[in-house]
Each structure stands twice: as C-alpha cells, then as structure tokens.
C-alpha cells in the first residue's frame, strides 16, 4: 500500500495469469472506470487482446473491493505485465501500482492521479501527459513524456520520475510539467522541447536539446557530445528554475539555434563538462 493514502483506499488486485505473445491493451481499466462496479462486473470488462476484445478475467484474476469514489481507488497489477500496454492511459484520478514491468504507453494522456511501476516501462510512457504523476522504479524506454507521433504538442503537465535510466528522444515536444531521470539517458533528450523542465542526474550520450525552442534541461552528469547550435552564456551558481533549486556550479547555454526563435536553456554541471564549453 502507498504510504499515507493507502489505508483509506479501496483496492482492486489484478494478478496476471500469463502474458500472451500478442499484447494486451488495458486503457479501459482505470480508477475512473472501475469505481462503483462490483468485482464480477470488473471481471467481465473488456480489454484488447491484439485486435480482439476479451474479458479482463481471461488474462487476470480479479480480487479486492471497489469503492464509489475513483480518487480513493487503487488498482494493483500484481505481477509482471511486460506485454500489457496502455496501463493508466487517460486516467484522471486514483492510483495504479504495477508490481513488475509494464509495456508501452503507461500513463499516456494522463490527466491526474498517480501511477507507480516497480519494474521497467517500455516506450512512450507519459505520452501527451497533462497532469498527475508517474514514478518508475526501474528503467524507461524511448520517447518518455513525448508527443503522439506526428504531433508538435507534447506533454503539458504533471510529473514523471524515473529512478533508473531512460531511452532516446525523451521529453520530445514537451510543453510543460517536469521529468526527472535519476540515471542516464541516450540520444536527444528534450528534442523539439518547447517548455517544462527536464532534469537528468546521470549522463547523456549526445545531442541534448536538439531543435529545442523553450523550456529548461539540467544535466548533472556528463554530456558526451553537445550540439553546435547552442550559445554559451557562462557559469551560474545554485540555479533556481521555476522553484526547482539545484546546488552547485553550472554552465549555461541557450539554443538550439538550428531552429527559428530558439529560446531553450541547458544547464550542465561544470564538474564533468569542461569539454563542451567553447
């Protein structure tokens, strides 16, 4: 149970029977939609198995107790659901806890509530997220907190924390909210970023903030290769970005001038990044 709130909450436990080779999609299974339903009703709710609708109970044992108020409802995926997509997609309130790994689109289009994944998440977690919170205890895949393919309006609010590493092109077209990666990330974090804050405690392989126009990226680790479209503004001490206070010395850059109207900011810890300063 989640500390502080768990005691008040009613809880539905979904124990996976098997993870099929064809993915499941469970965007119908949210605190918003389970509230007020009996266990039997929940068992027969539809989820997608490939392109086929099946009942939830075909792939999950369902137990626990639902409540009337979705904000007081927790859904627990009690096991590894590495081939189950769209967990918490579009949720507005309540909680979801995953006791293992999850597949793509965790918390996509999420507006409120909280999702905790104790293992890893695959790509596109928090896509077009508008509010609420996602916590990943393991690693995250590519396109964390990004925009839907083709869209230029990405994550606009909420908070994502990844305790492990993250993949490529995270925070793509980000507009608002906050993403915090405690581990390392691959290429192009904050590509096309237009707003919000992206904090990376570990290292970045290359191309931080490619074609970013706004928002702030803070890299506490080492940036392997930096882009030429950034203007160096000097050293800053103890920065404060929208109330996010970071201690220490940072190189400050503005860019990416590869794109018109660029006004994004990148801070990098001075300790490991002397090689990217002109």
């Amino acid at each position: 149970m989640i500390k502080g709130t768990g005691d008040m909450m009613s809880k539905i436990i979904l124990t996976p029977k098997e993870q099929p080779q064809v993915p499941l999609e469970v965007d119908t299974i949210l605190p918003d939609t389970l509230a007020g339903k009996t266990i039997d009703e929940i068992k027969s709710m539809n989820i997608l198995y490939g392109n086929t609708e099946v009942e939830l109970q075909e792939f999950f044992d369902v137990e626990g107790e639902s409540g009337e108020d979705p904000s007081e409802l927790q859904i627990e995926f009690n096991g590894d659901v590495y081939n189950t997509k769209r967990i918490g997609q579009g949720m507005t309130t309540g909680e979801i806890v995953v006791k293992g790994n999850a597949s793509m689109y965790v918390g996509a289009k999420m507006k409120g509530g909280k999702i905790t994944v104790e293992g890893d998440v695959a790509g596109w977690a928090g896509q077009n997220m508008q509010g609420g919170e996602i916590v990943v205890m393991g690693n995250a895949g590519d396109y964390l907190g990004s925009a839907y393919r083709g869209d230029w309006r990405g994550m606009s609010g909420g908070k994502i924390t990844v305790h492990g590493n993250a993949g490529r092109e995270i925070a793509e077209y980000m507009l608002g909210g906050k993403i915090h990666i405690i581990g390392n990330v691959k290429m192009l974090p904050g590509i096309h970023m237009n707003g919000g804050i992206l904090i990376i405690d570990g290292n970045v392989i290359s191309r931080t903030g490619g074609e970013m126009k706004g928002g702030t990226i803070i890299v506490n680790g080492r940036i392997g290769e930096f882009l030429p479209g950034f203007e160096y503004l000097g050293v800053r001490k103890d920065i404060d970005v929208d109330g996010e206070v970071m201690q220490g010395l940072f190189y400050k850059f503005r860019g990416d001038f590869a794109t018109k109207g660029a006004d994004g900011v990148v801070y990098t810890a001075t300790a490991k990044n002397a090689h990217i300063v002109p």
């Binding site: 839907y148 083709g150 869209d151 230029w152 109207g261």
Partner: protein, 569 residues
C-alpha cells in the same frame, strides 16, 4: 426495385420546385413518372427531400491527399471509426481514409464528389484511391496550368494543338475537366520563385498566367468539355489579391461556353474564392473585398464560383500551389511536404489551425460568408471548404446552419470571433438568411449544372439518377433561423439516402457501405489528324524528359470499377 418517396417537402431548383409536397418515384436507378402498386413506400411526411448533393471541388484521393494522411498521424488519431458490419474501419479528422470519406459524404446526403487536383503523371494513384472511395460518383480534374506542353503551345499561339493535346490527356488520365492552379506560379516554384499577378511570366517559358487562362478557356470551348476551366487564381491568400481575381475572371468574359454535353452556361469557374477576395497590402491592413467580388458575380453571367469557407478547425492544407504552401510553412513553422511533378505541376502540404481568436482567420470566415450572402443568385455560387484546406467537408452542415440563421452567425461574431470579423468585413450588417431552396441550389443544383451533369444529377425530375436525400426537418413546423442546431444535426446525418435507386442510408444509418460509384471521365475526340502530330511531339518529349515511358502513362479501364465516359465528338 421500385420505390415511392411519399409526401416529402421537395426542394429542386433545377425544376423550380420550392418546398412542394409531392411524391418521388424510383425505378431501376432512375426517377420516373410513376411506379406500380407494389413499390416500396418510404414515408417522408414532415421531412425535406432533395437530390443527392454534388461536390464540385474537394481533395479526397491521390498523392498529396495521401501525403497529408501519412504526415499527420495525429490527425488520424483523433478521429477513428471501428469496423462495423460491412462498414470498414477508418481514421482521419481532416484527411479521412478513402472508405470513411465515402461513408461521410453519403451520410450527409452527398452522392457525387469531384477530386479537384489530379497530377496527370500520378493519375493512376488518384484512380486507385477513387476506386476505394465507395458509394459516391466521382471524377478528377487533371492539373494543366503549369504543364510544359500547354505552356509551349499557348506561347506559340497554337490553341488548337493545345486542345488536341488536352483531348488526348483527358483520355489518357481518365480526367474530367481542366484544372488550373496558380498558372505559371508552380512552374516558377521549380526555380524557387513564384509569379505575382496574371502578367508575370513563367521563367524560361515566358508565358503569363493571363495568357494561360485565356488559351485554356479557348481550348476548353474548342473541345466542348462538359465543365469549364476550373481556376485556382494566382496570388492565393495574399492581401490585395482581389484585383488579380477580378482580372482573371474578366479574361473569360467574351468567350462563349460551348459544351458538347450538358447545360453549362459559364466559361470559367473560380474555386475557393474566399482565399482570393482579400484587400489591403499586408496582414496588418488586411480586409475583405468580398463585396467587390460578389458585385462582379452579380453583374456577370460567364462565371460561377465555389467559396472555400473557413470552418475554424485544425485542418490540413494541400494544393498544387507549391509556393503558397512554402509561404504557409514559413508563417506557421509547422511540418511541410513539398513535391515536384516533372513536366506538369507540384504540390505542398502543411497542417493549419484556424482559430476564432485570430484576427485574420476571423476575417477569412467573414469573407466566405459575405460571398455567400452578397451574391444574389445562388445559381452562381457553390458550397465548399476546398476540403480539407479551409476545413473538413464534414462541416458542411454547420455552414448550412450559418447560412440559414443570422442568429447563429451573430452569436459567433459577437461571442467568439475576433473583432476584426466585424471591423474588416461587412458581415455583421448582413441579415440575409438562406432558404432551403437556396441551400439545395448551392449544395447540388448549381454544381450539377456547371459540371455539365445536370441531365442526371442535382435534380429530381424524370430521367435523373435516383440519388435522393431525405432530411428529418419539417419546414412547416420548424424554423431554421432559430432552430439552427437541428439543421446542423439533420444535414450531418440524413434520414434516408438513395444512390442509383438503392437505399444506402436508412433511418439515419448507413446500411449499404459496399457499393461502387461511377467514375466520370471525358472521352474526347477532337481533331484526330492534329492529335497524331501532337502525340508524336509528346512522345519525343517523353523520351527526353519524363521518367516514365509514354506507353506506361495511360490509365487503363481497370482503374475504374464503373467507368462512365462522357463522349465528346
């Protein structure tokens, strides 16, 4: 199969029927005088009956439409329909997939739709997609306003040779009408430029837009095509462009319409004229010149237009006007696709968001409405959104409601639109409201007549194709002016639709999604001796310049499920 549609209020402008309670009889796909006792009765009492809608200008098939689909997955994502029964799945709000396009036009009571821009070289792709656009009768207009052969013939004053080339090209591409887009401008775009106005010559060829329009209109009437030249004027979307528009229209003033098929009386068709009715010199002093355009229409009978009404949506712009799309890309910074089609044309695609809070977009909305409301004769004007350029065709019901209710318009003007709509146009002073008869005119009758299809389309007289739409609105008890939301709803989802005498929409539900419509094309026979010479010239150019062989250029009959050639001799 025989049907009788009983007791509906019939609006049929081509037969001067204005809301008369009468029965419509159908046998073997045609409207007939009477049917037998055993005819199935469809009760239309308290409902509107009109001919199936005729769309004169839309972009629903072919390369640039498909580029729009491919480059905008986010447009597909927000409008998705699942498969249900015989109805296929589909997606796309502003650029729907082909099947969904057919379903949605049909649901609105439209039964004919013309794809307005077919690059001749890529005609095969257009026809492949039209085949997959169910129910609707359709046709496509080959793009000829920047074609090297046309430019060369007309520069040399060889109008007859040009006509012979076009006659061959209509057969080769299974085309329906001559489309001209920014004449000489798209060719100039091949060199990174554009032309400004109608007297600015294309690079290398040295011919002007004015000369192209004149030559093509002459060639059109020499061949006797059912439709007139279909013109997208130069300077689209530029403040102050209305002078170019009026000068372009005037070119055809003294050329007589001579169709060898149909009842067309105009010699020029101006498309999406909303985009061509702008005053001012920049976006800062931008204002409406729609009254000047409407005045011209009111005084001249050789021209008809469609509007290209802004619907205030997020949409996708796509046109053969390559330089215009580049301007739009630099304005918005959105993603942009650009294409050059060898000796023929080009194109561009850019997403666009029309916002009611934006001063320019609000004024553009007002300009479209002014064109509708200031043009006295609805026989000269047609409803379009230049789909999807000014908005998706699925907004036609809303435009109908705007036209029928000054209250609906004024609510929008006062509560939602930027103040420029009132300040930079006269829209707030206009209280005209369209009648259902006017609506039938601008959505069916006028288009059928100017396309040359009014023998069988756009009306409900004996001998017409039995394409009929029934809408659940009772003009005797309901008032469109105050009940505009109902108008919008009933025109979005017709109560019944007949296509070729079959019920395809029944009680507000599409019940026959898998039937095929005709493909109209013009089987031209002009001057066969001259055509032989022209073709040998064309073959030489193919060897020299084209990436395809002449033999692979022509489209066979296999690319149409219901080939409907119109014979021109």
């Amino acid at each position: 199969m025989e049907y009788i549609i009983k007791n509906g209020m019939v609006y049929d402008p081509l037969n001067n029927i204005d809301g008369e309670k009468m029965d419509i009889c159908i046998r073997d796909g045609k409207i007939v005088e009477s049917v037998g006792e055993s005819a199935e009765v469809v009760d239309a009492s308290g409902k509107i009956v009109m001919a199936g809608g005729v769309e004169p200008h839309t972009h629903i098939a072919g390369p640039k439409v498909n580029v729009g689909r491919m480059m905008r997955p986010e447009d597909s994502e927000k409008d998705v329909e699942a498969k249900s029964g015989d109805r296929r799945s589909g997606s796309g709000f502003s650029v729907p997939s082909t099947f969904m396009t057919g379903y949605r036009y049909t649901e609105m009571g439209y039964t004919t739709a013309m794809e307005a821009a077919m690059p001749p070289l890529i005609a095969r792709h257009v026809h492949e997609e039209l085949v997959d656009t169910p129910i609707l009768d359709k046709g496509a207009y080959p793009l000829l306003g920047n074609n090297w052969f046309v430019m060369e013939y007309l520069k040399n004053g060889e109008v007859e040779e040009c006509a012979a080339y076009i006659a061959w090209l209509m057969r080769a591409t299974k085309g329906y009408a001559i489309k001209v887009v920014n004449p000489c401008g798209t060719e100039a775009w091949g060199w990174g430029g554009n032309v400004h106005g109608i007297n600015d010559p294309a690079p290398k060829f040295g011919i002007t837009g004015a000369e192209m329009i004149k030559g093509l209109v002459e060639a059109n009437e020499m061949i006797g095509l059912p439709h007139s030249v279909h013109l997208h004027c130069n300077d689209l979307g530029h403040p102050g462009n209305y002078e170019t528009t009026l000068a372009s229209f005037d070119i055809a003033k003294n050329i007589k319409a001579s169709p060898k098929y149909g009842e067309r009386d105009i010699s020029l068709y101006g498309t999406h004229v909303q985009f061509h009715s702008y005053g001012g010199t920049s976006w800062r002093d931008f204002e409406s010149e729609a009254p000047a355009i409407a005045d011209y229409l009111n005084k001249n009978d050789h021209i008809a237009i469609d509007v290209g009404q802004i619907t205030l949506d997020e949409t996708t712009t796509m046109t053969a006007d390559g330089p215009m799309e580049f301007d739009l890309y630099t304005l918005t910074g959105f993603k942009w696709a650009n294409c050059d089609v060898e000796l023929e044309t080009g194109s561009g695609v850019v997403p666009f968001i029309y916002s009611s809070k934006n001063p320019v977009h609000s004024t553009q909305w007002a300009i479209g409405m002014e064109l509708f409301l200031l043009t006295k004769d609805p026989g000269k004007i047609m409803m379009t959104t230049d789909h999807p350029n000014a908005g998706p065709f699925t907004r036609y019901p809303r435009i109908i409601a705007w036209l029928m209710s000054s209250k609906y318009r004024n609510d929008l003007i006062e509560n939602e639109l930027h103040a420029w709509a009132q300040k930079r146009s006269s829209i707030a002073t206009i209280d005209r409201e369209y009648s259902l008869y006017d609506i039938a005119q601008v959505t069916r009758a006028t288009a059928a007549r100017v396309l040359g299809l009014s023998e069988t389309k756009g009306h409900l007289g004996v001998g017409a194709d039995a394409d009929v739409a029934i809408y659940s609105f009772n003009p005797e008890t309901q008032d469109a002016s105050s009940d505009y939301m109902t108008i919008e709803a009933v025109f979005r989802m017709a109560d019944h639709v007949f296509k070729d005498g079959e019920i395809v929409v029944k009680n507000g539900e599409l019940v026959k999604p898998r039937i095929d419509g005709r493909t109209y094309w013009v089987n031209c026979h002009f001057n066969e001796e001259l055509e032989k010479n022209v073709i040998s010239d064309v073959k030489k150019k193919f060897k020299q310049y084209y990436t395809v062989n002449f033999e692979n250029y022509e489209i066979g009959d296999g690319y149409m499920r219901r080939s409907a050639p119109i014979e021109i001799k």
